[in-house]
Assembly symmetry: D2
Homo-oligomer: 380 residues x 4
């Protein structure tokens, strides 16, 4: 099944993006939904393909090769769906995951807030218990796919009558009090719309609260998406490389071509070092994730571990290395690299997101140090 | 005089750019022309301010603090005007430099071609002698300000009846056969328009040919502009720093502000190291240039030296360091750094030009090695 | 079996190196030979443990944690033994591999020459067929363990009567004409002796010639050792980290300890990123190697592939990243880091070897580009 | 006068170090004392050459080209002599500076302590007033030249009867209670001996206390030495470059020589960028220092400013860039670069000191941020 899904993704990118030879457009999402591969990770019990994350890494990279915005919008639902799968119970899964498996729809995550920034425990969005319902209020800074999503997972501080100090709540897109405040203009990822959204006295059934401490859940939900974000760096970097090679093959230089220039060769080889190592780390992290997921009690396994070391490392490493590769790539084309005649400018702008979303490098490194370097027993 | 000019430039940036609190617009050029500082380097004999390059470095950095596009468009004429000053004769200077000193107009340079790329000796634009005239034919890839310029300096391969194998020719913007092919869409430097242009049987008087080998002249003309391009990196980097500091001052973090966070402090201090060192190198290079210019026979001095080592070094170093600073800066703002709420995205895009125009790093390093590292006597 | 071997190696390092709390000494080799783990990769058919390379990666890293010289001397025989295993025939394996499996002895490799440098095809050592024998003449620049080795694998240019233009020949240490010219003083790796050696009319039976083109064989033999060299960077880097953490735990700073200083934490976390990613790449490369070794016809498989991409990448990446980590580590201790009170100086000197032996970065990148980047079909 | 001093230093290095073609030896110090250039910065009023720091930068670089240990031992007295000159009064200058100008002797500085580390205000060495004398007690971790010095400048915490909380005191080498505890083994700088020393009830006249707050004085005294340490990086880097070029000129590669290899050329050119920029920053910092020194009241000028921004920047930048250059250089020679056949190993070890002495990078950056980045008015 898996190679087939990867094959479908590659074919989609080739025919729907590369051969169209145009800037990525937002229509690409609807076309991808019809490919049969959308939401490839959803468990077979919900009608999904049930692919392990290690294959997701290859698919995300393949999509990002064509359009990182398509890739990100296509996999970021995994933050919420994996939490539903692990901590959501049968009813929620049936109600919300099954349709996603069928239609390729989205689940949006509402975590970040302006004031709290990287200190999630300072979030101001509140969830208050009221009889059988929970009432949500607050504004969330960034939420990808929020407008087109079937449902949202909202992270909030519990104010009254909750078992946990922070909670994660499933909120239908159609719930009253839910509002798209604005769409952000972003440096890159043009086809992946991100919104500021708000909840005003938004009331949902208390059964929609996921089991567990909300902040721990968010940490867990970010495991697969951080690995897949890292994987997009692999895809973008491959595109940069191939763009460079395509240009160099025919670019005359000193009686031969740029592709045969030793300095160019040395630079591209170093780029390949980065690509290969990024892929190895993404796969290693995905295997760690898959091993827990395939264990006897994945919900308990993830609750115990929280953020996986290898996932944090993949995120930081691929953000840094991808950015280097994009920078190197943009220098290959000389002045043309500063124009829209070559796609490199877009790739540079797209690549930047890897280090900026779902935790900047300092934030991730702080977690890494506290969890995996400070305690001697956790060092490896 | 000089501090005054720098003061005027800073004041202009403050009132006309920073306080308007909007994206840089192209109207800024017209307003700057009226500031009295435009073309600050033109010799007093032509009615200019006659400022040395070491002061130009500070002015260019001050303008780039506000808008790198304004800075680049404002100083790039120096490539041509310095050649006219050194190798142009009284008539040409009177005819073409005086108006620039009065009106703040532009001189555009036409050097780069698509096929030749970094191998300028492969340029296809031709200059043929025909009686008292020279006829020019060819297409030039990139020319900043070409449309609004009073005149162009065209670099061409001599085909017949010329003393030099390559020549530099003054061409009035209004000459017949001169055509703007298109304006390029660029990754950054939005307010600095760059064009593809062509010359078709464009005929000018043979007196418009500058004295000397065209390729050597181009190398000489790039000395001051490469130093000033390097100086724009200083200005953009300072803006990045101040943007970071402005954000950090009020951004709450761990019970205090980001500005008091040790990791942020360490990062910003490293940024300051880069800013200070870039400035020192730009000034050192400018002093080298000014010393030759103030010598007994600057035309011969430059003809003998060609590309100055310190100018080449400034260009490479500031391109690299500026890019690092821009990258660091864009990570300070977290997700907001990926949106247009903060100007950092524009600064990253603007900064990229430093390494891409007037010779990519490999091209400059090749020259540096051949001229200043290989010959033992030239090492310092 | 495997975890046990790793366990033995770790225990050896703990008791024989770390707890002795002295500079590594050469006696460590003899003690390691008695550990039962020496030459852990030799096939079970020869009496060895037959461990796959992916476990060898962990063992090499564990040894290098204690002493990189011990690690290198202990695994570098794999270049020759793997060639004997693949291309040597039953008799050679019985005669030369069995004793190594029993006694933990060494096989030294004689490849590099002063004049040839990285251009192995320019090697001057010759092998001439003479009846049933082959006569070897030449001087080899670097050969680790050559003096203590049971036998050497000599790479030579064939001059007459050979099937291949270059050959690999098994030469007993006791063969006539074999001479140790000198032991090199090296910057680091004090416990791993490396020699300049010569062969003068050294005559061995022609049955000692391995099957295949000598240069291709060398390329193949370097696959496992390059991966294990990369793995030593993991071990040294972990030692650097633990040295830093041990120091930081008790070092007072600003009312707390260095270990709780945010800048230190950030730096150590970045170090951990490097360690984790290096390990992932070493393992990925080792798995590639093991997969071919476990295939139906590994000799043909390796002959077809030559240098493995992932092995080349591991070597380059770990050399670069290890060096960065060593540099960072040496800055943690302030002035003490420049003295022999802390072991960091030795670790910096040891780490340097990763990038310098068995192909410098440019040489490896050139191979990488030619084989895996230029041909579109080979890109991944 | 100045060019002559630089010329003497260069000549000394050529005849006494380079042409001897041996590892630097400690006898070099005595020979340099006789060169007439030793302590070149001492004011003419004391019988010195009175050279400005900008020339000292060139001399330090010239000495470091031959032997960084010689360079460091030769200029580090400037920390103490500049304080004596600024804050010491006529008697002290006559008594202690004059002999140094005549004999080329040393002044050693006793600042660092084990417990205090980078937090100098935690120093434990005490100075207690007792009638007309001051009694010093404590142990100092690192003091270069302490054994051979004529006198020491001791930094201590005042315990009783002093005007300042911290003081700097002139202590004759022959004073009772002064003891050399041990000489350190260091990673590099073999010819620059550094000692742990102690003071036990060491009594000197109270007139030996310099005017001003001891910690501020130390900060001021480090200004010139930090700039000169930075300048040693220039000298070592030039030696690395010339070593590479000398090797490359004759090293055959691909039918030509390494010196004509494009990748090598590109790498060496980047090295030259670093060398040139380091020099520019050292000179810029030295000019800042000289300007204050040439001002109306240099003692007040330095007291007001403390650590100069450009000096801090020079130290950090040259430490980082020098280290990169040393690393690059060591890769040029392949395996030979790991042996003592080429001097590169020593240069790598020597270079490391630039970042480690007189304040590690974090310490210097912290000062830089607090003084020159945080206060908007101090940004440039």
């Amino acid at each position: 099944m898996a190679p087939q899904a990867l094959q479908v993704a590659r074919e989609f990118v080739r025919t729907e993006i590369l051969e169209r030879d145009a800037e990525p457009d937002t229509g690409v999402h609807a076309r991808f939904r019809e490919s049969g591969v959308a939401n490839w990770w959803l468990p077979e019990s919900t009608g999904g393909l049930g692919l392990p994350l290690v294959e997701g890494v290859d698919i995300a990279a393949a999509l990002a090769y064509g359009d990182a915005g398509l890739a990100f919008s296509s996999f970021v639902s995994i933050v919420g769906t994996s939490l539903l799968e692990l901590y959501g119970g049968q009813r929620l899964q049936r109600e919300w995951l099954k349709p996603l498996a069928t239609t390729g729809g989205y689940c949006a995550v509402l975590g970040s807030e302006r004031e709290a920034g990287s200190e999630l425990d300072r979030m101001d969005t509140t969830a208050a218990r009221d009889g059988d319902t929970v009432v949500l209020n607050g504004t969330k800074l960034f939420s990808t796919n929020a407008d087109a999503a079937d449902f949202w997972i909202v992270f909030a501080r519990a104010t009254a009558g909750m078992e946990q100090p922070y909670v994660a709540v499933v909120v239908p897109r159609t719930a009253p009090g839910v509002r798209i405040e604005k769409r952000w203009n972003t440096l890159g990822l043009a086809t992946s719309p991100v919104y500021q959204v708000s909840l005003t006295d938004c009331r949902v059934t208390a059964e929609n609260v996921l089991a567990g401490h909300g902040l721990r859940l968010l940490e867990i939900g970010l495991n697969p998406s951080r690995i897949l974000i890292a994987a997009t760096a692999v895809g973008i970097a491959r595109r940069v490389r191939d763009l460079c090679m395509g240009y160099a093959k025919n670019k005359p230089l000193k009686g031969t071509t740029l592709a045969k220039n030793p300095i160019f060769a040395d630079k591209l080889a170093q780029m390949e070092v980065g690509i290969e190592v990024m892929r190895s780390q993404c796969r290693a992290a995905a295997r760690d994730y898959d091993a827990i997921m395939a264990g006897a009690d994945p919900a308990a396994g993830f609750a115990r571990r929280g953020a996986l070391k290898s996932a944090l490392v993949a995120k930081v490493y691929c953000g840094q290395t991808g950015w280097q590769i994009a920078g190197t790539g943009s220098e290959v084309f000389g002045g043309l690299g500063y124009t829209d005649e070559v796609a490199i400018g877009r790739l540079v702008r797209d690549m930047r997101f890897v280090s900026l979303v779902e935790g900047g490098d300092e934030v991730v490194r702080e977690l890494l140090y506290a969890r995996h370097v400070m305690p001697p027993a956790k060092r490896s």
